[in-house]
Subunit: 397 residues, 2 copies
């Protein structure tokens, strides 16, 4: 067995044990196609590294020959601590997981200013991760990896932020700034990608290798999962669903361009029209516009309906390009419900290429702020797991 | 070494030999990470099966110790014959390749009717592949696999045509119809996917793992390559770029829906406007409209310019979603040059998410009808190669 093969074998077995939660050695050999002898060798290494552990199988069935209880392998929870966080408009949410993915603690803090410099933001996060770790009697330095979701255009593999509404400057290697401030490995990604990661790891995307997640907060985000992996594009500028154009020379978007989907469906787009119609200078809330539409106000209804039609058109374009099995409309804000309405889904179905086969399933998944943070932690967990394997390889060589 | 590992090893080595064209055993071991002993065992099997052969290395350098000439491995061209074809509006183009991918013959035939029943089309193709094989003193039955590109919505892995402008009926398992008529394995795909396959195998996509190909004939097609593979979606309805919507409730498309990109940029879209403007009932040709635009006819210029702006908007949407490294605008018709013009590319660049990094490279690749057929043959070659490996596995078990 070459070094290369041994590395591939370790990765395969560790991932399989994680996927199966508990599995005896003999089944590991069967599902992976790796010989029993190699499974024995590699799992011994993983046990020695403390990444997995043996547990007595729940079954009362005994090994018939020797009367010994059957033994399963599982991920060893205490092997590593993993933190994840999501920066929202006015709050930062955090979770702490063990190496099995079990949530040990969570934490939420208000942000006084919505936009900070990279250094200030890193300082805030270092303090919050420390507070989080203290909740389980650990400190920041005990955390093996920190995953962070941030809005904006992020080149994840390079930890590079092209721009983010949460940071004062563009083009920051924010991953490095964070690693300097926290002193632990940091894994950074666009927040919508981390929702896709959360859906895949413990949400509605479980068991699906290809699906699309659309998120609506103040902006419109998208995460694309292809072949079990987040698709990120080559410059970290992929999946910019909110800035796909739905109208040539259309409404002005916050990004400075015209006709973006966001310029028709985001909060500010609805408010812009509502204020114009009412002639009021006073700021209105989006939920007031939505309520007025429900109460039969024709102008409000027209504003809300157009947003729905534009959203349906944007979704149909995604279906025509990806032909996904599943689309998850994910979000924490109830105020997006007009976009997730049945008539919007029906309108989307009418706008896709018509074949005599069922259209993609569309599901709506409403959840709280912690889901984003859990996605960030799941991303960190994946990377920490990979790093643990690479360290093993170094030990061997 | 398990059966599973041996199969994976064979696939890896055969693909590597194909990629490198000529390579000594020792380098094979180095680049694949497979041990020298296993490389020796597996290449002996591949030699015995006649899929590869030994050739004396070109180099004058000798094995220092024993003075023997160095030996490279290469794919054995005569191992298999592969045919590929593309059904166009009025012609069928075919090529014949050997197992190395070298083109042995080509053939082109006029189609008297543009739409045929599946059975009639299969009969025509069987005759044409027979004629093609005879050009190198072989017959249809000597061909190991036939790849076919057809316009429309095709579920490639199932050989299923949801609909095609070339066939009279919808929902045909055309792959099976063809295999019955030809008596050899058939591999069917959407024609734009096969252009992407051609670009990847011997065009501008060589060495790129992720890129997008856009084709313009009478319709607008797209092929997506992600991680070195054609992305096909889950129902065979992906990459329908021509039917992404660029205008809510916009111009009527041939597909019956409104606002599709095709309804603004395809031949019929330009002619529809040109005829309305001129008030002439007589049919005009697209190149007349393009020429009129060049000659300063304002109405013609307005028609052509709008097509360009809509095309730029559609392309920008693709970039915002995929963030590809490379976009290949491929086609055989010079008449698409107004869409491939510099001002269209500039307009696309202005409509994508702006970051301080170069936008994707856009290249234009004009070629003849045979490129499509070569792509179809490349697709068949990939599958024939895989089948040859599976037959070996069966022999072992």
């Amino acid at each position: 067995m070459s070094v290369n093969q041994r590395e591939i074998g370790r990765r395969k077995l560790l991932n399989e044990i994680r996927r199966q939660q508990r599995i005896p050695r003999i089944s590991l050999s069967e599902v992976t196609g790796i010989s029993r002898a190699t499974v024995t060798t590699i799992t011994a290494e993983l046990l020695r590294e403390g990444l997995i552990e043996e547990v007595t199988s729940d079954t009362t069935e005994k090994d018939s020959k020797r009367g010994r209880p059957k033994v399963d392998l599982k991920i060893r929870g205490v092997a590593r601590l993993i933190a994840g966080a999501k920066i929202s408009n006015k709050t930062i949410s955090l979770v702490l997981l063990d190496f099995e993915g079990t949530q040990l603690a969570d934490h939420e803090a208000a942000l006084e200013t919505t936009v900070l410099s990279a250094d200030e933001m890193a300082q805030v996060l270092a303090e919050l991760v420390e507070e989080l770790a203290q909740k389980v009697d650990h400190s920041l330095q005990d955390v093996a990896g920190f995953g962070l979701g941030i809005a904006g255009v992020v080149d994840a593999p390079r930890g590079f932020v092209h721009w983010s509404p949460s940071l004062t400057s563009r083009n920051v290697t924010f991953g490095t700034v964070l690693e300097d401030a926290l002193g632990i490995p940091v894994f950074l990604d666009n927040d919508a990608n981390l929702v896709a990661m959360a859906e895949k790891s413990f949400g509605l995307g479980q068991g699906h290798s290809d699906f699309i997640v659309v998120t609506i907060e103040s902006g419109v985000g998208m995460g694309i999962v292809i072949n079990d992996e987040i698709y990120r594009g080559t410059r970290g500028c992929g999946a910019e669903f909110g800035h796909t154009k739905v109208q040539l020379e259309g409404a002005l978007c916050r990004c400075g361009q015209r006709g973006c989907l966001e310029a028709y469906v985001a909060d500010y787009a609805l408010l812009r029209e509502a204020m114009l119609a009412s002639g009021e200078a006073a700021e209105r809330q989006v939920d007031e516009v939505l309520q007025a539409a429900k109460d039969g106000d024709e102008v409000a209804a027209s504003i809300v309906e157009r947003a729905g039609r534009m959203f349906a058109m944007g979704l149909a374009n995604i279906v025509n390009i990806f032909d996904p099995e599943l689309i998850i409309l994910a979000g924490e804000q109830m105020q997006s419900s007009h976009l997730y309405a049945e008539e919007v889904i029906v309108s989307m179905r009418k706008s896709i290429v018509q074949v005599d086969k069922a259209p993609p399933e569309v599901v709506i998944h409403k959840w709280g702020n912690l889901m984003w943070a859990r996605g960030a932690a799941a991303y960190a967990l994946e990377n920490v797991s990979e790093n643990a394997l690479l360290e093993m390889a170094d030990n061997v060589v």
